[in-house]
């Protein structure tokens, strides 16, 4: 502690941002060293909601541990469940029915849109525009209702389980999703114009929080954060899982390397997701929604690693099995943790007022970072 104090020059100021500061999106504490308005260092302090999910999973069976993972990145809980289910299926070599694959992809993409919509509203609110927050929450509500019909939950779904999905789709699913597609197509351009074209918004984002391509790779950034820096890292394209290799969609890449590029990537990704949903919604194959599996799952001895693309980037699930009903060691490589590590580098030399814009475009979800 003494060393740290002496490393600070005269005239420097240390301020705490958060936890529970309106701009930190959750319980994240940032200790910022400032010289005037210029940021010299940003130190994230984590762990306010650390629940040691990895330790908990060691005493839960392969059917039970899915439920805990919904609580990591709560905005893309379907995709978290998906990653874990894939890892168990890979270990046990379970082949899942075609219907389950399509349902999983549909749910993933709906989640991605919901997550990006929430981010879009929160992002605009961080920069001082309040209306987009209400608009995006209103549209997101439509997706949450669709989820509620089928999964029974609005946030922590626990719907994708090893072997398929938990229950079949609600009879109203297709009708409601089609209504949502229509609504999205109507509103999206309008909202896009409202915020993206706004000159105040643009000038607060452009050339703020610059992260070069090399740095993005070195810091282990993935997802829209890295794609805004020109790295192609979409797991759905690079290592396709389920039926992503049969679908037509583009990997959105921007090369501006700044906050505005990361913003554009997420906005454009919503359009890609809606096009994936359009391709699938009339083509859900008939059949079982779950493969026949044993009541007690036992993974063979060995190590299994799967990765999926969540709304925030690459989620890796690493299971070390000793052949028992519970994992010997499980590790979640969460996208937010690596993305956050780039914050200090991005913020250094910037202004304190821009810090919020940088954090906003990293799209941090704290339970995902703390786990």
């Amino acid at each position: 502690m003494l060393e740290e104090v002496s490393a600070i020059d005269q005239g420097d100021m240390i301020i705490n941002i958060g936890p529970q500061h309106p701009s930190t999106h959750g319980v994240l504490q940032l200790v910022v060293t400032l010289n005037g308005e210029t940021i010299k260092k940003v130190e994230p302090h984590l762990g306010f909601i650390h629940r040691s999910i990895e330790k908990m999973c060691e005493s839960l069976t392969y059917r039970q541990f899915i439920y805990v993972t919904s609580r990591m990145d709560y905005l893309s809980s379907h995709i978290n469940n998906h990653g874990c289910a894939l890892c168990v299926e890979k270990g046990m070599q379970i082949e899942i029915p075609e219907r389950a694959k399509v349902i999983r992809v549909l749910m993933d993409e709906l989640t991605r849109i919901a997550s990006h919509e929430l981010w879009w509203g929160a992002m605009a609110m961080d920069l001082g525009a309040f209306t987009p927050f209400f608009l995006s929450f209103r549209e997101r509500e439509t997706i949450t209702d669709i989820m509620e019909d089928t999964c029974g939950a609005r946030l922590t779904m626990n719907y994708i389980v090893p072997g398929g999905v938990m229950v079949d789709l609600h009879p109203d699913f297709q009708r409601k999703v089609k209504a949502f597609i229509k609504l999205f197509r109507e509103k999206a351009d309008q909202y896009n114009e409202l915020v993206t074209g706004n000159i105040i918004f643009q000038s607060r984002m452009k050339n703020v929080g610059v992260l070069s391509k090399e740095d993005a790779i070195s810091y282990g950034c993935t997802g829209p954060t890295a794609r805004g820096s020109g790295v192609n890292c979409d797991i759905r394209k690079l290592y396709p899982y389920e039926i992503y290799d049969q679908l037509k969609f583009d990997e959105v890449i921007e090369t501006g390397c700044d906050s505005f590029s990361r913003y554009l990537v997420r906005v454009k990704e919503m359009y890609q997701s809606i096009s994936i949903i359009e391709q699938l919604i009339d083509n859900i194959p008939e059949g079982d929604f779950q493969a026949k599996t044993k009541a007690v799952l036992k993974l063979p001895k060995g190590e299994f690693y799967t990765r999926v693309e969540t709304a925030r980037g690459e989620l890796g699930v690493y299971i070390v099995s000793e052949g028992a009903t519970t994992p010997y060691r499980i590790k979640f490589r969460s996208p937010g943790f690596s993305n956050l590590s780039a914050l200090n580098h991005m913020a250094k030399g910037g202004k304190i007022g821009d810090l919020v814009a940088m954090m906003g475009t990293l799209d941090l979800v704290i339970p995902d970072i703390d786990r």
Binding site: G47, D215, G220, C233, Y305, R333, F337, S338, S341, D370
Partner: protein
């Protein structure tokens, strides 16, 4: 590059590496003392170019600890898994955060959860746990009678 070609290339770089069979990726073990120079070569050698460290983990095997590094090359799209056995009573390994900067956070996390000492790491303070926390919670022999519920 296929896994076989990659194995030949890796043996040229580090003759003492031992390979494990199975798994989708090339799986090799190095001694902790050899890890840092090997890591430099993995990053810099033409044809390998491992520039993306995507997962850093530690596993407690009760007799020893094992560090696990997952690496990928964004240029050639091949991946490897590097493991290193550490002594459980005095786990020490060189940091690689000057080669892959993402390692700084990941190593801090593993240091507090497993008690691994990363030599020459710039800042090994606790990241997730509170500063006065004692013990290493992800080790298999960790006991906490108050907060841990045994099923």
């Amino acid at each position: 590059m296929t896994n076989e070609e990659l194995k030949i290339k890796l043996t040229e770089v580090l003759p003492s590496a031992t390979f494990e069979e199975g798994g989708e990726w090339v799986n090799l073990s190095v001694a902790p003392a050899e890890w840092k120079p090997f890591a430099h070569q993995l990053r810099a050698t033409e044809g390998l170019d491992f520039d993306f460290l995507f997962c850093v983990t530690c596993v407690d095997w009760k007799t020893h600890l094992s560090m696990v590094y997952h690496l990928t090359s964004t240029k050639h799209r091949h991946s490897i898994v590097v493991k290193s056995k550490l002594d459980r009573t005095k786990p020490e390994i060189e940091t690689v955060c000057d080669i892959w900067r993402t390692a700084e956070f990941h190593e801090r996390e593993q240091a507090e959860l497993f008690g691994v000492d990363f030599l020459n790491h710039p800042d090994l303070r606790k990241l997730i746990l509170t500063d006065d926390f004692e013990g290493f919670p992800l080790r298999k022999d960790f006991e906490d009678p108050i907060n841990m519920i045994k099923l």
